[in-house]
């Protein structure tokens, strides 16, 4: 198991290197000189940037300087905000996105497993139909529409009860987080519900559940010990990509709900063509996602004895 984790970490580092390289060359193929645009680059900033990256040197030299900085965990200085470290920007804004993302992932995974199991157990009966209808909505309605609609609903709800329990926008308390996290997690939850349902249905009809019933095991125990654990396995395997989808899907939710997360900052940086912030955020997100996938795989290993023992 430890060997496996080590191997995955080494693979992860190579993957992050690939992401960093792809980011570097994608940004360097942007037409025009980043510093010659009609933008307020003070001589001070220009000097700083040139010292940091050797912008007048050949691309390959810049690339190695960039990699060297990265390996020390240094993402550089912002192009548009004088002498502001990209690291500081990430440190300030990422926790907000992370909290939102964690809430959404928890919501999506718990809801997906619960609803998926329910629909399978109540197959072709009313709870199944109701949940599957909502799932189809969750899959086919874009997140920005959901975000807008839920915001509209919040406005009406708050004015109806003359309260502000669930604020329409902003950030700070758990009350600010609930609705955005729900909106963010809903699409993934719908997807996980479908996956859990089909996996559960397969297992309900499996030979080993029949064996358990032939042993006279009570239904509740069959559900807990034989069905749930096996049905969750496929859900866990897609949790890595699901986390990726949720973290990057956070952009829209952060924009609509005016949440000061890294996603919204990234969109602003792109609009202002703040190269270092764009690169730093991309590599940071990439590394984060690679790490999350490894974590999910390791967790999977602990659940599935086949992987754990090999």
């Amino acid at each position: 198991m430890w060997g496996y984790i080590f191997k995955r970490l080494v693979q992860g580092i190579i993957t992050v290197w690939f992401i960093a390289t792809a980011t570097f060359f994608a940004m360097h193929s942007v037409p025009g000189d980043p510093l010659l645009n009609d933008r307020a680059v003070t001589p001070q900033m220009r000097a700083n940037l040139e010292a940091k990256y050797g912008l007048d040197k050949p691309v390959l030299t810049q690339y190695f300087v960039y990699l060297g900085n990265l390996s020390r965990g240094d993402f550089g200085i912002s192009f548009t905000q004088e002498n502001r470290q990209v690291n500081d920007i990430i440190r300030q804004h990422f926790p907000v996105s992370a909290i939102l993302g964690v809430l959404a992932v928890v919501f999506a995974a718990a809801g997906g497993v619960l609803f998926g199991a329910l629909t399978a157990l109540y197959r072709n009966r009313l709870p199944d139909y109701i949940i599957m209808f909502l799932v189809i909505l969750g899959i086919s309605v874009p997140s920005f529409v959901l975000a807008a609609l839920s915001q509209l609903a919040l406005v009406n709800l708050n004015s109806l009860f003359a309260t502000n329990i669930l604020p329409v926008a902003g950030w700070g308390t758990i009350r600010h987080m609930l609705v955005p996290a729900l909106v963010l997690g809903l699409g993934t939850m719908a997807y996980l519900t479908r996956l859990m349902r089909s996996s559960m249905l397969e297992i309900i009809n499996s030979d080993y559940v029949r064996t358990a019933r032939a042993k006279g095991v009570p239904p509740a125990r069959i559900f807990a010990r034989h069905q749930l654990r096996n049905a969750i396995l496929p859900v866990v395997t897609v949790l890595g990509p699901a986390i990726a989808a949720i973290t990057t899907g956070g952009f829209v939710v952060e924009l609509v709900f005016a949440i000061p997360g890294l996603g919204r900052y990234f969109v602003e940086a792109v609009q202002q063509l703040d190269y270092t912030v764009i690169m730093g955020t991309t590599v940071f997100y990439g590394a984060f996602l690679v790490f999350m996938v490894i974590v999910v795989d390791v967790i999977y290993g602990f659940i599935d004895p086949k992987v754990r023992l090999e």
Binding site: D207, V217, D304
Partner: protein, 351 residues
């Protein structure tokens, strides 16, 4: 029929399990399938009843419906009764508030590779019925599971009990399945094609193991198979099933040497033998079983039967008792039939 049956010396003891007139249907997209059409049999302690028949004849559905293992819906038990020591168990499987599955009746299945939970250790799975039915603590149950694995001749049982199904071979898994099924010392063991998915040498070992365990514990075995060789090796009594009905029933000798149904004869002629005196050309049975979406009015075997008569197409044959408990559902045994049933009985002798 009753006039013939009265001549029979009834078995002294009450049967352990008595099944009567069992009818099972399935709703499918194509319509309703009558999988089991009025089956009855009885099982006695220490004896083995073999139920033989080709794929799709309803033999697995029959025992699984007794154990309430068929999915309901789409499955449906339409009629019949199953009495364990005189208590009705059909549709409930509960005596005195306790589930008899796993405690009174154990069951093993055809494919041991898929019939065990892949994420639970073998030991835990064997221990489970003891915890559920006998109130053992986990420790006690696991200790007993190791003993059971030893009983089923699994080497290094203590180590093996902590392993997962994917670390076992097919034959080993089937031994573990048997250990699990007999963990609560059931009165009856239902073995649904226990050796079909295994290599021939392993098959023999598993069957021997079942026989040994039977003589040790005195349990009854219901053995479902399509392999006449297995029947000859294991069974005391044989029931031949065709198209959802038992068409012939008797002792092994009755059914093998005095076959009274053309289907049984057909099965035997399709089976190779290593007795040079009885060697013959293997004859397949032509055609295929009837469509059970629309069961035939008469005998189900009629379209494939070399002895078919008009009456066979029109009405179901009753049980015609021949000698003792031996019966056959075939119109040839009707007193008015011109063809002599002896032509079936002693076919081998004539050759």
């Amino acid at each position: 029929m009753s006039q013939v049956a009265s001549a029979v010396q009834p078995q002294a003891e009450e049967p352990l399990l008595q099944v009567e007139d069992l009818v099972v249907e399935f709703d499918t997209y194509g319509g309703t399938v009558q999988a089991v059409r009025g089956v009855g049999f009885s099982v006695h302690s220490g004896k083995t009843l073999a139920i033989v028949g080709e794929s799709g004849c309803g033999k697995s559905v029959m025992v699984q419906s007794i154990m309430r293992l068929i999915p309901m819906p789409p499955g449906r038990i339409m009629a019949g009764s199953a009495k364990l020591r005189g208590t009705e168990i059909l549709g409930a499987n509960i005596i005195d508030g306790k589930d008899i599955r796993g405690s009174e009746i154990g069951m093993i299945f055809q494919d041991p590779m898929t019939s065990l939970n892949p994420t639970m250790t073998i030991g835990d799975q064997i221990a489970e019925p003891l915890q559920v039915h006998r109130g053992y603590s986990y420790r006690q149950a696991f200790k007993r599971a190791i003993e059971l694995l030893e009983m089923t001749r699994i080497p290094e049982a203590a180590k093996r009990a902590r392993q997962y199904p994917f670390e076992f071979s097919g034959g080993m898994l089937q031994r573990a399945m048997i250990a699990m099924a007999i963990s609560c010392k059931p009165a009856i063991l239902i073995a649904d094609e226990p050796s079909t998915a295994l290599d021939v040498t392993i098959q023999a070992q598993i069957l021997d193991l079942l026989k040994e365990l039977q003589s040790e514990t005195g349990m009854a075995i219901i053995l479902i198979t399509h392999d006449l060789g297995v029947v000859a090796r294991m069974a005391d009594e044989v029931a031949v099933m065709y198209a959802g009905k038992i068409v012939e029933h008797g002792t092994v000798d009755d059914v093998f040497y005095r076959s009274a149904h053309p289907y049984t004869v057909g099965l035997r002629e399709a089976m190779p033998t290593n007795d040079p005196a009885r060697q013959h050309k293997l004859e397949p049975i032509q055609g295929s079983p009837p469509d059970l979406f629309a069961p035939p009015a008469g005998c189900g075997y009629c379209p494939r039967c070399p002895h078919a008569m008009k009456v066979c197409e029109q009405s179901q044959p009753e049980r015609f008792y021949l000698l003792g408990e031996h019966f056959s559902r075939c119109w040839l045994h009707h007193p008015m039939s011109p063809q002599k049933p002896e032509s079936l009985y002693f076919k081998d002798a004539q050759q």
